[in-house]
């Protein structure tokens, strides 16, 4: 079968060789964690603890403040030092519950394995997932229980597990698939049960043959689950592109995967779901790829959420003198951080540290209309036109040309020979348009 | 309604007054305009037939037809002119005619005179709107300089009908540099008109007609 893919996309340097062969290591207990209240899309969680309170690992320390919100659990045991404003990797600054470790790693007692978890009814499963504080680990950190509660008029027929990991450098999902294939498949079956779906797909890029093999083995007993292999191309992992490649369905402009009967979840999310349903284990840790030419010993690390980047990087031998840029996430969509005093959050898939000479984006030239950005845009937009329209504050025309459909994958900026700040401008335009919409009510 | 009628009436009066004023001025300027219209042809005739005392047009009635071929009316057109040495219209010195050629960007109108043997006496470009500095140089009329191969209307003097071809078509007429279209238009239009007229001109001796 010819490998299916989508139209557009780019082939950046993969950079996976730093860590793809490194098994996941557990980070030694950090001294202190700062767990931000906002780690997902939606309303921030409300703190349940006070300064001085003792907490155990896995204890709920903040509760969801609405349907589109998730609770937060402590990732270590110790004493609450306070609720403070700390650096936040996404919003710059935000409230976090700071916990001083007692050095013991005491866990709440509720965590235990339940043999017949698959017989639970879907409502119960959903409840456990919600209580475990799971938000999508693929990057968007959208509350998972919301995604799994589609309105009754949307008939879901397929669940896709996203193991593409198309972002260069990152290998967290890759290692997870190699080391926890069965947990992931179990997670997928839980989702299929919840949604009452008969088809499950695990999508992987062909640069991970070992993972493909392992996953194939893991699903061989389930004839309603298949592993799909896609050619390496960024952003193969973007859900709309993955659905297009796997099922040849196009999510309508402005729509969601459920509009074409599909739910997409990251493989890490699936594992977290399995743990939540089968063990009552909340989401307190995640795998983070620490990588880049400026990291002394690149690794995949299992990190308690709230750990400072500094501690994680120190575990990886620290960074080199020549380091010039710290990115949370991959190089295509990741967020640059001013320093290492930021906590790992649920969405932190990697810590990428680039050398000084890689850090600076070259100066911008005028657009020469080469059309490359148009060619690579996976959403078939006109990135250069959109960016210029935003520059001239012509938002009406930008909206007519579907600026809101941009998935901010950055392919356009990546490919542009003039180094135009395309996605950057488009992002700004989208924000302006949303602001205006909000004002208009 | 009444109002519109009244306003139209006022406007009509204003227009009528204007029309009468203009008519008056037209009466004054008309003769002069007519003179100017004829002037170019007259000048050109005088130039190409300098030795003629009287120049008489030979006209012909041409029917003007509509699409279906019905004759609408007849028009009098000049076929050619005869130049007489004496004012009593005796002693033919030559004939003159107009040739029209389609040049680069205009119709080029040329006045041509031939002697009684059908050899060209003189030509003059009456009107043209060719590209200035290029095709428009066709009006140049400096004496022929055998050392310098260049266009001048003087080079037509003494040419017979079969010699009317530009150099690029293998003839002796030196064309304007970079304006072959113009040069060809003039030369060919004279040749075609002349061969059409030759049988009609009362030539002195038919042997002299080139052939």
């Amino acid at each position: 079968m010819a490998k299916k893919t989508f139209v557009g996309g780019v082939h950046p340097y993969e950079g996976k060789e730093f860590t793809e062969k490194k098994a996941i290591e557990k980070l030694p207990l950090p001294q202190r964690v700062a767990i931000p209240l906002q780690q997902h899309i939606g309303a921030p969680a409300k703190a349940l603890v006070e300064k001085g309170q003792e907490v155990k690992a896995g204890e709920k320390i903040a509760e969801a403040s609405g349907f589109v919100s998730v609770p937060i659990h402590s990732s270590i045991s110790g004493k609450v030092k306070g609720i403070e404003k700390v650096n936040h990797p996404v919003s710059g600054r935000g409230e976090a519950i700071v916990i001083e470790s007692d050095g013991e790693d005491n866990w709440v007692e509720t965590i235990r394995f339940e043999e017949n978890y698959l017989e639970l009814d879907s409502k119960e499963m959903l409840e456990r997932i919600k209580d475990a504080g799971i938000a999508g680990l693929g990057g968007a950190t959208f509350p998972t229980h919301v995604k799994l509660s589609p309105p009754p008029d949307k008939k879901i027929d397929t669940v896709i597990l996203n193991g593409a990991e198309c972002e260069p450098y990152l290998t967290a999902d890759h290692r997870l698939m190699l080391e926890h294939a069965d947990d992931i498949v179990a997670g997928l079956r839980i989702i299929m049960k919840i949604l009452n779906v008969q088809q499950g797909i695990i999508g992987i890029e062909d640069n991970k043959p070992d993972a493909i093999e392992v996953m194939r083995k893991a699903v061989k007993d389930f004839n309603n689950i298949q592993v799909y292999v896609f050619p390496v191309k960024y952003p193969q992992g973007a859900e709309k592109q993955m659905i297009k490649a796997a099922l040849n369905r196009e999510v309508p402009s402005g729509g969601l995967p459920m509009d074409v009967g599909v739910v997409v979840q990251n493989v890490g999310t699936a594992k977290a779901m399995y743990e939540a349903v089968a063990y009552h284990k909340p989401l307190t840790h995640r795998v983070v790829t620490v990588t880049g030419a400026a990291v002394n010993e690149p690794k995949n690390v299992l990190v308690p959420i709230g750990t400072m980047f500094e501690d994680v990087v120190a575990f990886c031998g620290g960074m080199k003198e020549s380091a010039g840029k710290i990115v949370m996430g991959g190089p295509m969509m990741g967020l640059a951080q001013p320093n290492l005093q930021v906590p790992v959050v649920k969405g932190t898939s990697g810590i990428l540290i680039l050398e000084e000479h890689e850090a600076h984006v070259p100066a911008e030239d005028p657009c020469i209309a080469c059309g490359r950005c148009v060619e690579v845009c996976p959403m078939h937009l006109l990135p250069t036109t959109l960016q210029i329209l935003v520059e001239h504050e012509n938002y009406t025309e930008a909206e007519r040309l579907h600026i809101m459909d941009c998935i901010e994958c950055g392919s356009c900026s990546y490919i542009c020979p003039s180094n135009r700040r395309l996605v950057q401008g488009i992002r700004l335009g989208k924000r302006k348009i949303l602001e205006a919409r909000r004002k208009a009510g | 309604m009444n109002n519109i009628f009244r306003l139209s009436f006022i406007l009509a009066i204003v227009t009528t007054i204007a029309a009468f004023v203009l008519a008056e001025i037209y009466q004054i300027t008309r003769p002069q305009i007519e003179i100017q219209k004829q002037a170019k042809t007259k000048d050109a005739l005088k130039y190409v037939l300098p030795d003629a005392q009287v120049i008489v047009p030979v006209t012909q009635k041409v029917p003007v037809k509509d699409k279906a071929g019905n004759v609408l009316y007849e028009k009098e057109v000049v076929r050619y002119y005869i130049g007489y040495r004496n004012s009593d219209t005796t002693g033919v010195v030559g004939y003159a005619f107009k040739a029209f050629g389609s040049g680069y960007s205009s119709i080029i109108e040329t006045m041509v005179s031939v002697d009684t043997s059908g050899t060209i006496k003189k030509i003059r470009i009456i009107s043209q709107k060719e590209t200035p500095g290029l095709g428009a140089r066709c009006v140049e009329d400096q004496p022929v300089n055998p050392k310098k191969k260049q266009w001048t209307t003087q080079q037509f003097v003494g040419k017979t009908v079969d010699q009317l071809k530009v150099d690029k078509d293998g003839g002796p007429i030196v064309s304007i540099t970079g304006a072959t279209i113009t040069s060809r238009a003039i030369t060919n239009s004279i040749r075609e008109k002349l061969s059409e007229l030759l049988p009609q001109l009362k030539l002195a001796s038919t042997e002299n007609i080139g052939g």
């Binding site: 005028p366 001239h392 | 203009l22 028009k75 960007s105």
Partner: protein, 219 residues
């Protein structure tokens, strides 16, 4: 000179383009070429009015102004041809009044008959009255298709063809210009060149490119 229909169409649209070569209709060309929609509307309106105006002025000229065999004085009142009044000197004054009235009529008529068309063309119609392309084509028709006050063969057909094709040629460059100017809105044109100056330079370059049509043999 006599023209074939195809020849006239090529001539009017490309070679003697109203704007780029004859310099007629420049004000709307500069004024209404900032946006594609209005350019198209203006172009259609001008084409329409040019054709109707040419028709009407041709009739007026032939039947009333010129001392021809079609003159009403000759064929209705039996005036001897030499006594038919030569009113050609009233050409300018008659044409402009007729065009102004015509535009008013067309406007009222369209408004009544087709509100959609009125919506598309309506706003341009009043602007057209004092636009030299309309009077220009009317005068040009007389200059080209009459000789000494007499209509040349196919004068009437040629008049209509020339008017319509010239309108199309006008619309063509107007629309091209609008596309270019919309693009220039987003360009980095140096300050002194912004607005009219660059529009003129575009027109100049357009006119250079249109020289490519020069010399087309259109027999």
């Amino acid at each position: 000179m006599e023209y074939g229909v195809f020849q006239l169409i090529i001539l009017s649209i490309f070679i003697n383009n109203f704007v780029l070569s004859r310099f007629l209709g420049l004000c709307p060309y500069m004024g209404v070429s900032k946006q594609m929609d209005s350019a198209l509307g203006m172009g259609m309106a001008v084409t329409f009015v040019m054709t109707i105006a040419s028709l009407v002025t041709w009739l007026l000229y032939t039947f009333f102004l010129a001392p021809t065999y079609q003159n009403v004085f000759y064929f209705i009142f039996d005036t001897p041809i030499q006594n038919v009044p030569d009113l050609t000197f009233l050409r300018t004054i008659v044409f402009i009044l007729v065009i102004a009235a015509l535009v008013q009529f067309i406007e009222m008529y369209i408004q009544k008959v087709s509100p959609t068309l009125y919506k598309a063309l309506g706003i341009y119609l009043p602007l057209i009255t004092t636009n030299c392309a309309i009077l220009g084509v009317a005068v040009l028709n007389i200059d080209m298709f009459f000789k000494d006050g007499l209509p040349l063969p196919n004068s009437f057909i040629n008049t209509l063809v020339q008017a319509f094709a010239s309108g199309i040629g006008f619309t063509l460059v107007l629309v091209l210009m609008a596309g270019i100017r919309e693009k220039l809105e987003l360009a980095n044109v140096p300050k002194p060149f912004r607005g009219l100056p660059i529009a003129f330079i575009v027109a100049g370059l357009m006119s250079i490119a249109f020289l490519g049509f020069a010399g087309f043999s259109v027999e």
